[in-house]
Amino acid sequence: ADPVKIGFLVKQAEEPWFQDEWRYAEVAAKEKGFTLVKIGIPNGEKTMAAIDNLAAQKAQGFVICAPDVKLGKAIERAAKRNNLKVVSVDDRLVDGSGKPIESIPHMGISGYQIGKQVGEGIIAEIKARKWNMAEVGAIRVAYDQLPTGKERTTGAVDALKAAGFPAANIIDAPQAKTDTENAFNATNIALTKNAKFKHWVAVGLNDEAVLGAVRAAEGRGIKADNMIGIGIGGAKAAENELNKPQPTGFFGSVMISAREHGYQTSINLVNWITGKATPPAEVLTKGMLMTRANQAEVRKAMGQ
């Protein structure tokens, strides 16, 4: 048989998370002896081009985290046309009416679920610090232009509300771009408007957003003991914060395992191609809250 060649397409190639996924997929490739082609697909157009490109390279299938889940049908068609097998990772692909595409096996996280873990982590810490919820303001650093961003922050907010956090205390801070500086500016304004709260918590779509919120709070004298920020991702940006000599308002980050996603999905796909096994239709992995206290264990558990 031909040597196995698969593609691994991710929506934000520059993000540490996807770099990690690729890294673990490489590990799998080395172990199992197949060829891996990594392509970044920032938008729908590039996605289509990348699939064509894979076909030209005579790949037999690809793992994909699409820039938008509604690309599902297009990806399905393109794969079928080129006779490629598809496995989705991170985000589950859906068709035009929003139903998951059954023919594409999926391994992933639910943005909403991860967000919920953030919210739950915050609630637990609020309780541990014995804060009065009425005196706590919650910043949602919002970037609703990005569907996953919205899902994550919505999950977090829902978890807060479910635990009895007053909905009126939740303040949106819309960032213009997804970087720390813009999160900083957005949070600054939110803090100005709501000077009344004693304590603060912050959620956002990634570690960078929460970091911006934490820095803005520090600028106003709201330090570690009055701030709980929990990010998502757990990569270097979080590690830097958690390893600072003094604790900061950046309390922790929900870490998701790039290892399993990168490694396992590629192996599942290769097994499918070689006819060894059909991948399970859907596997959902969970994140773990990593804080100063449990950093080492979490990293180990997550296989990093």
Binding site: N43, E45, N53, Q57, D68, V69, K70, K73, G96
Partner: protein, 326 residues
């Protein structure tokens, strides 16, 4: 009696060779590049890959045709990326509600025409700086795309609409054929019609054009309107290819299109445009991307490579005009 002191014969021969060089150096360079890549990069020279390459630049190609006119008239359009997204989203929504492909396409194209006309009126009649005017429409149209779609991709289930992006004629996908048609049509428009000549004239010297009786403002509006319509068409085709209208599609698209044009020798100072050059510019952009993916170049190094290749391309193009006084 002769005005020029020059010996016509002596002048003619170097002139022709220089003109010939400046006319065909880009296509030639591209052919050489293509040949080299075919020989060295595995899988590059195959029907599927070449078609894939063409498909990947189909949208850029269409819009580059009108962007060329826009730049040639000394203007600038940053709003094309947003227009692509909006036309796609609007088309998808209208399709969902009306069920009629014709109405959806009409809505998308109509919206494009409106956006283009708005740009044109702002720039030509209200004399707003083109950068600011189209930056403003870029923001507003992107906002509209988000608002009408509530920030979510709008799925498309209509098969006849989706098929458009998939259908092949003589082995070539329809989007590629449409892009090809754009190059032919706008090539003719630029070189064989009064419209094209006047466009170059208002770019080269707007005052001279006005004094010669060209209706400069009206022409500007038409150019932007055309740009809007073609961009909307590209947006609808994209929506059909990706089976959804995506409000955050085509971000940064404007820079790609403008780069392709400039790479193809269109002057930002206006007055200069060659359709052939634009085609080559578009192909270079697509080829670079394609080859880097074929060679599995690391994502971070892709930035480096893209920058370098852009530089090399313009430096090569520069060489031929060297020595000439500017």
């Amino acid at each position: 009696m002769s005005v020029s002191q020059l010996n016509p014969a002596a002048a003619a021969s170097p002139l022709i060779s220089r003109q010939w060089l400046s006319e065909y150096s880009m296509p030639l360079a591209y052919l050489v590049l293509f040949a080299v890549l075919s020989a060295t990069v595995e899988n590059f020279f195959s029907v599927t890959n070449v078609i894939g390459l063409m498909l990947s630049v189909a949208q850029i190609g269409m819009v580059a045709c009108t962007m060329m006119l826009c730049l040639a008239s000394r203007d600038f359009d940053l709003s094309v990326g947003s227009t692509i997204a909006f036309a796609g989203v609007l088309g998808a929504i209208v399709l969902e509600h009306s069920g009629s492909v014709a109405i959806a396409v009409a809505a998308g194209l109509g919206a494009g025409a409106l956006i283009g006309a708005l740009n044109g009126v702002l720039i030509a009649y209200l004399r707003v700086n083109a950068l600011i005017a189209t930056l403003a429409t870029m923001l507003m149209v992107r906002g509209l795309a988000f608002i009408v779609s509530k920030g979510q991709a709008v799925g498309i289930n209509d098969d006849s609409f989706i098929d458009f992006g998939d259908t092949r004629i003589f082995g070539l996908p329809l989007p590629v054929l449409v892009a090809g048609a754009c190059f032919v049509v706008f090539g003719i428009l630029l070189n064989q019609t009064v419209f094209g000549r006047n466009t170059l004239a208002i770019g080269g010297n707007p005052e001279a054009a006005r004094l010669a009786g060209v209706r400069v403002e009206r022409l500007r509006v038409w150019i932007f309107l055309l740009q809007g319509v073609v961009t909307a068409m590209a947006g609808l085709i994209l929506a059909s290819r990706i089976t959804s209208g995506q409000p955050n599609a085509a971000q940064g698209f404007e820079l790609d299109v403008i780069s392709a044009c400039v790479l193809g020798g269109v002057s930002l100072q206006g007055g200069k445009a060659r359709i052939f050059g634009v085609l080559i510019g578009v192909l270079i952009m697509g080829t670079v991307e394609n080859v880097m993916n074929l060679l599995d170049v690391d994502a971070f190094y892709q930035y480096l490579m893209r920058g370098l290749i852009l530089l090399v391309a313009v430096l090569l193009d520069q060489l031929k005009t060297r020595g000439e006084r500017r």
